[in-house]
Symmetry: C2
């Protein structure tokens, strides 16, 4: 069975030495001193390692079952859920006005990484609730907030997002679920939704479904979509549970992974729904949920990589095969541990340099969200909006790749159920698909985000990197090993953006055909930037007395690997982008 | 449920228009005219599509069961196996002296691709037999050949390879299974072998295990390994089955994929074994099996990509989401088929350009094997020896990647069991691991094959490409679109080889740290070369009257995609290689 150890030291390094959160001038961050975050992370890490991780293979093997409309989650899930609830983890960053702890989103992300690494399928139950809570908080009426938020924050109720229908996933303009206005101001919701994560289960007393539907007679397409609260049990004025609503789970999806999470077909048969916000303005509210969910999915992607890497590393230190070509490392044993072999190290460093870079990138993104919300900073809001598709698309592609590489470290053992690596691969796979496939992320990036604020936001990104390089380059070693490669990569990204601008006007397919490569190019530049920041922090810290030199030197060595072995991908992506639409559009659909 | 269509036209194009097998001057190839191969491929394609493919999800869902030492294969496997046996497919390329059909290995590969695409787990039963047959044919005594080959070729007996033990996979020098010589000339075999594909099952009357073991008192390490025939049922002088041998299946491995194939723990409890070849010379014989098996695994890798791509393509033509940015392609429908979208096309062309290139590469490799064996051509033997790790490592890495991309084309549907794409991903995953992990392939390539014949073989490879470019470059379009990119890629490969030579002497880790990138660089050059040859053939054929212009133009467009979008990876691999050992070796094992 695989094991999990919470990477508290690395998180502390990122929070305090790289992001310097104590000096970030964001309301609420002043409470986040080193001791506080240490205590919170230790606690979350303990829960993750001791309670959630052991349940991960159990959930995978047992899956969920549906009987007479009731979904049973795997053995032990309910007890673990209650333990998380009682620990107050569900409302860590929620509004104190409704019972939340009001901690920054950054801390929610750090603890979230642990929970997801330990047990992704399990953590989705509360993850979906979090998204639904955010949408109600941002767009619901005061009465709705009072009615739903406290129980959701406390964890005794959960939430879902209902978008997809059998005939439409991405293209929400096609949805058919209808919402007929009733005289009492409610709506009758009728239709079928599919792939509803946590749509039905036995962990909470009530489930608050957020459902996209169309009010008959409204505008065509996405402009006619409204958002509704459709609770499993209607809630009485006094807050007690009332009638069972006319909705049911019609089936569970059999899928490749995340077996511990119930993926439901949801049937709404004239269920009572409550409008959130205005009629026909559902997409805006849904985007609140989706943007948060996309960041959460990016985190899922690399978090699976984290735990997969940990287990690959343990195997590589333990497994004896072959000899170090430069002389035996374990002369008294029958062979050397495979970590002596250059190609095994290459594989491990590929994993390690990605997950540590991804963690820094995600934490930085979470900090931008805090700045956007807590400081009402429009530039931070725009920046995280630009980065969201990169965080989702790049981190899940590479996170999945990392689980595959980790599985490879184990050789044949990696393919067996027993060692658990193959579960990480199967679970991570969904992150590239849901909340908008990564292809859709790349379209969002190139089609919408590049042009955000007339291109000013992406320009600000480039300026930020340039400024960082400039203010750091007096450190000659940092310059040679980190800043120069970052500059090259950033230039590749700028060249790609310029190419889109000059060729996309002539033919939009010139930009769209390169969108996926652009997303990866952007992701590499972001991770290169994070590695440069981490290296700078490590250099500074190494000069302090009592610094953990092993940790910091390892950080630098891992960063050098990223800069020399991963970052050169930017040149390849640029070349592909510059080949334009032709190679992609030439072939007639009928002749594929 | 996924479907499968045998790619007969593409195979015919490669066999007759690209490889020109009728003019290849290889004994047996003169019989392979267009009509003959068409008939054989049609027949194999029909069997694959109608019998094997429908059993693929059945095998995945049911898996194999072990009860009282008996392994039951999934429903329908036995009937399908008998049908293949009766069709004479098991001995297609086997020696006619023992009942085989004596067809070239090339045709075995072509039909093999179909069987594997249709049902990989099923086809492994006969695939393993083929390897065992080859080893007995090459190294067994006349009596052994007479005793075992006819029934194996006919298919009523099957075969296995027994290498791995719990404590050693790659490092065979560590094996503990022992073979004690008996007075009657036989050996008592005692030990445990794991991960034995098709080690026990209900498809055949007897199973002929080939087992690596050590004779006590022999040399240490791999030099003390001998190869034994250890049949499940001993065979009497008259060929009838005798006593049950002292060996048994001790368990079935639970694994990520290929559930239809029984992966067995095999216990040998003083079983009677018969030495193959000389004592302590087992590794040589095992290499005969392994080399063939490695080519077979490379084929498995891309063959899973083939069927995954077919199903992704069907989905992309059918699924309606969004609109073509340049104007509706399906104005009367609610949306356009997703194949209009540039990023969906990019994904499909990535798949298509790989699998068609991989097919050509594999067929060329099979032709080299035929030339090596049938013409006793030492240069062809050396060339295929050089290419074997590339065929295995590159085609399985990229074949797996192709299944993942195909799954992505389906969005959420790709993650569900129902659509079957996720099975291709899970099944393809093992190909990167077994018969030597791809890391091991890269070591074989850089550590042994590059220096083969003092480097003359790799030089011959470069000369071959150079000569091809030279003799083809009067076609200006071919030159610009295919030959120039091939030349660049080939130069990258030569530069990498040179870098290894000049830096590997100083420190072998300089070469080993770049071995994996080198394998991929090499693979891209091989596929670039195959695409250039295919493009040249297509250009010539387009001038013929009655040529299938749609097919040939599609071939050229697909090739152009490969050259512009996949081949630029060579530059990235070269840069990584040239960064040498340092980024990989710097970090102390304890500080990972």
């Amino acid at each position: 069975m695989p094991s999990y150890t919470a990477p508290v030291d690395d998180m502390q390094f990122i929070l305090h030495d790289v992001l310097n959160i104590a000096e970030a001038d964001i309301p609420g961050y002043d409470e986040l001193d080193r001791e506080t975050t240490q205590a919170v992370l230790d606690e979350a890490g303990k829960l993750s390692a001791e309670v959630l991780a052991p349940l991960n293979p159990v959930g995978d093997a047992q899956g969920c079952t549906l009987e007479n409309g009731v979904v049973r989650t795997p053995e032990g899930f309910k007890a673990a859920y209650d333990q998380m609830r009682e620990g107050g983890w569900m409302g860590l960053d929620a509004d104190p006005d409704y019972g939340g702890q009001g901690m920054p989103y950054l801390l929610q992300s750090a603890t979230g990484e642990m929970f997801v690494s330990a047990n992704m399928a399990f953590n989705m139950y509360q993850g979906l609730t979090h998204g639904a809570m955010s949408a109600i908080h941002a767009h619901g009426s005061d009465a709705q907030k009072q009615m739903y938020l406290p129980n959701m924050i406390e964890g005794s109720w959960s939430g879902t997002m209902n978008l997809t229908e059998p005939h439409c996933g991405t293209d929400l303009g096609l949805i058919r679920t209808k919402a007929e206005p009733q005289e009492d101001g409610t709506y009758r919701i009728t239709g079928q939704k599919i792939w509803i994560s946590a749509g039905e289960h036995d962990l909470t007393d009530n489930i608050i479904h957020l459902v996209l539907a169309k009010i008959p007679g409204g505008p065509e397409g996405v402009k006619g979509i409204s958002l509704f609260i459709v609770p499993k049990f209607l809630v009485n004025e006094d807050g007690s549970l009332g009638d069972r609503n006319s909705l049911s789970c019609g089936g569970l999806e059999e899928k490749m992974g995340i077996h511990g999470n119930a993926t439901c077909v949801m049937n709404y048969d004239g269920a009572t729904g409550f409008l959130v916000g205005e009629e026909h303005k559902g997409m805006r509210a849904m985007f609140t949920m989706m943007n948060e969910a996309r960041l959460g999915v990016g985190l899922q992607g690399y978090a699976q990589g984290v735990v997969a890497y940990q287990n690959a590393l343990a195997f590589a230190k333990d497994r004896l095969q072959g000899r170090d070509v430069t002389g035996p490392a374990n002369p008294d044993g029958p062979a050397d541990p495979i970590i002596v072999h250059p190609d095994v190290r290459r594989n491990l460093l590929h994993q390690k340099s990605f997950v540590e870079g991804a963690r820094a990138f995600t934490f930085w993104g979470a900090q931008l969200i805090d700045r956007a919300h807590r400081n009402e900073d429009a530039q931070a809001e725009a920046m995280i909006s630009l980065l969201t598709p990169v965080l989702k698309g790049f981190l899940t592609d590479k996170g999945f790749e990392t689980t595959v590489l980790a599985q490879q470290t184990l050789g044949g053992s990696g393919f067996t159920r027993e060692w658990g690596l193959e579960q990480f691969v199967r679970d991570a796979r969904i992150t590239m698909i849901y909340e908008g496939t990564n292809g859709i992320q790349s379209l969002d990036l190139v089609g919408r985000k590049l042009g955000l604020n007339g291109g000013k936001t992406v320009m600000a990104f480039f300026e930020m990197i340039k400024a960082f390089i400039k203010e750091s380059e007096q450190d000659a070693v940092l310059k040679a090993q980190f800043l120069d490669p970052l500059k090259t990569a950033s230039k590749d990204l700028q060249a790609a953006a310029m190419w889109f601008m000059s060729h996309g006007i002539k033919d939009p397919n010139n930009a769209l055909a390169g969108s996926y490569d652009f997303m990866h190019l952007f992701g590499h530049v972001c991770l290169g930037y994070m590695w440069a920041r981490m290296a700078k922090a490590a250099h500074l810290k190494l000069e302090e007395e009592g610094a953990d030199a092993d940790f910091l030197e390892a950080k630098l060595a891992t960063g050098r690997y990223y800069m020399t072995r991963q970052l050169p991908a930017t040149g390849m992506h640029l070349r592909r982008i510059e080949s334009g639409a032709e190679p992609v559009m030439d072939l007639a659909a009928a002749n594929f």
